[in-house]
């Protein structure tokens, strides 16, 4: 079985982001970029399935400018087999991404897509569900545990207030939550091997998909700054201010 794993290049999660001076976007120039953490978990899960003999090939897909090939190679170093780079200099919205992935799934005849539940830049949390809808496949979102059998996947999902267990039929889409696994660090020999793996480039205009954005970003701003910093001396003073000054208890 082939598995498709889409990966997104985003600002590293440790970086404190800045809005640009035009207030049109978050500054990405000269900022450390990494693979979206949820996508790393997706790659790791695919590699574990391959190591368990349940998957034969892992196809890594990314959409963006030339630099996303670096992210594809990071996935190669973890265990991805080959890559597809859909070239788009602009931001690609989730619905367009889902349409691109749908065509790739059909062309590549994959039975499983594992992807991050959301990207930590736009925080949309949509693409996996949209892809499942377009393919009329079942979706196992926010997975914290999966067990793959021949024709079925048992999945434990993170939901508000606890966990939910579902059985879904293959082919299907799985989106990863944090507790699914801990991604490995790539070894040096694997990083070297990753350089030789194949990446096919496809310009987005060659996909035949209408990739025009449906959301116009009017502005991007910093959230209002919260100013705190006042200290209280002891428990008595704390109770006093909470009761009498701000009246929250």
């Amino acid at each position: 079985m082939k598995v498709l794993v889409p990966v997104k290049r985003v600002i590293d999660y440790n970086v404190k982001i800045r809005v640009n001076s035009e207030e049109s976007a978050v500054e990405t120039n000269n900022v450390k970029m990494s693979m979206n953490p949820f996508d790393e978990i997706a790659v790791e899960e695919a590699v574990r399935l391959k190591e368990a003999g349940l998957v034969d090939e892992i196809i890594i897909v990314s959409i963006g400018n030339k630099s996303v090939q670096e992210t594809i190679r990071t996935a190669f170093a973890m265990g991805g087999d080959r890559g597809i780079h859909i070239v788009n200099e602009d931001n690609t919205e989730p619905l367009v991404v889902a349409k691109i992935l749908k065509d790739l799934v059909i062309n590549e005849k994959t039975d499983l897509v594992i992807m991050g539940k959301q990207a930590i830049d736009d925080d949309a949390n949509q693409t996996g569900q949209m892809l499942a809808a377009l393919l009329n496949w079942p979706q196992g979102t926010f997975a914290s545990k999966i067990e793959l059998n021949n024709k079925e996947l048992n999945i434990v999902r993170e939901i508000d207030g606890g966990l939910e267990t579902l059985k879904i039929k293959l082919p299907c889409v799985v989106t990863t939550d944090l507790r699914l696994n801990e991604p490995r660090y790539a070894s040096l020999p694997n990083i070297m091997k990753a350089k030789k793996k194949e990446i096919i480039e496809v310009p987005i205009s060659d996909t035949g998909i209408d990739f025009k954005n449906r959301l116009e970003v009017l502005k991007v701003q910093e959230p209002p700054v919260r100013i705190g910093g006042r200290k209280v001396e002891d428990v008595n003073e704390l109770i006093n201010v909470l009761k009498n000054e701000v009246g929250v208890i």
Binding site: Y13, L215, L242
Partner: protein, 307 residues
């Protein structure tokens, strides 16, 4: 304009997030239909009374487990003349809404925290470290709503009619097995007026009990930072932050939490923030309205006792 709100039902009643979503819907239109994917008479009666709701649409058929594969077609059918489809941005809405939006060829807008007009919305990006104002060019708009950004609609005073809704059919793609919800007598984390949260400074799973007595005194929910979850002190569904829950209570008490950006993203919209930490340089103090430097193992029992 007319709005269709997808209700999320939690056991016996509509989730608080749905009530906030009704408030958000009122900023778009006066015509608000509530689609209920639960057949309980009590739930439907409760929905009729929600202030602002003009119609309750009761879905029929196989609704067990709220499986996305079975209920997405029901929502698609219920959309009809609605111009805006809204749900709360909890895991229920996050799971189902993009599936419906894609079937409508519409680019969803997630986690809306402000409605400017019928086409223009504000939403947090980068875990709330920036706010994007976006204008939708789609004819029908699909939104998930950040519940903490809108007041809950009143649960009394409405008198909506109940109409028969579409029939859900099982398509056999997925099967519901079970749901394991954390049992607690305390208020739900995202709906609580007061939240008492612990971080790595709590030191162990056993020590978390120290927060229980304080939470009980205050009628508060208990939360945790990702560091405390990662250390195995407390289950993940208690996590407040970028990768956990977003809360905005009247009072948030952060105990033994240093204040990583990740955590602040989940609680910085709380009305009053109190920080208790032995490290006086902890970043949490910069955003806390009131900080108390000291040993939490002395402070918390004293606080519980004196309240």
């Amino acid at each position: 304009m007319s709005v269709l709100v997808i209700a999320e039902v939690n056991g016996k009643e509509v989730d608080r997030g749905t009530l906030s979503t009704v408030t958000a819907a009122q900023k778009i239109s006066d015509e608000i239909s509530l689609l209920v994917l639960d057949k309980s008479e009590d739930v439907l009666k409760g929905c009729q009374k929600i202030k602002g709701v003009t119609k309750v649409i009761a879905a029929k058929g196989d609704l067990e487990g709220g499986l996305a594969e079975n209920i997405a077609p029901v929502i698609v059918e219920a959309v009809k003349e609605a111009t805006h489809i809204l749900s709360s941005a909890g895991t229920f809405g996050k799971n189902i809404m993009p599936r419906v939006a894609a079937l409508h060829d519409s680019q969803q807008i997630s986690d809306v925290c402000e409605i400017i007009d019928q086409d223009t919305f504000v939403r947090p990006i980068y875990a709330g470290n920036a706010l994007a104002t976006v204008k939708s060019l789609d004819k029908v708009k699909f939104l998930t709503v950040r519940a903490t950004a809108f007041q809950a609609a009143e649960t009394e005073g409405g008198s909506a009619d109940v109409l028969d809704g579409p029939m859900a059919k099982t398509n056999g793609l997925s099967t519901f097995v079970k749901r394991d919800l954390s049992e607690s007598d305390r208020p739900e984390l995202t709906a609580a007026k007061i939240v008492v949260s612990g971080g790595r400074g709590i030191g162990s799973a056993d020590n978390f009990a120290i927060l229980d007595s304080l939470a009980d005194k205050l009628g508060a929910a208990v939360g945790a930072s990702r560091a405390a979850v990662d250390a195995g002190y407390i289950p993940n569904d208690y996590q407040v932050g970028q990768t956990g829950k977003v809360v905005a209570p009247e009072l948030y008490i952060a105990i033994g939490i240093s204040g990583a950006i990740q955590h602040l993203a989940g609680m910085k919209d709380s009305k009053i923030i109190v920080a208790i930490n032995k490290d006086e340089d902890a970043p949490i103090f910069q955003i806390a309205d009131f900080g108390l430097v000291g040993d939490l193992f002395q402070i918390i029992p004293e606080l519980s006792e004196k309240l």
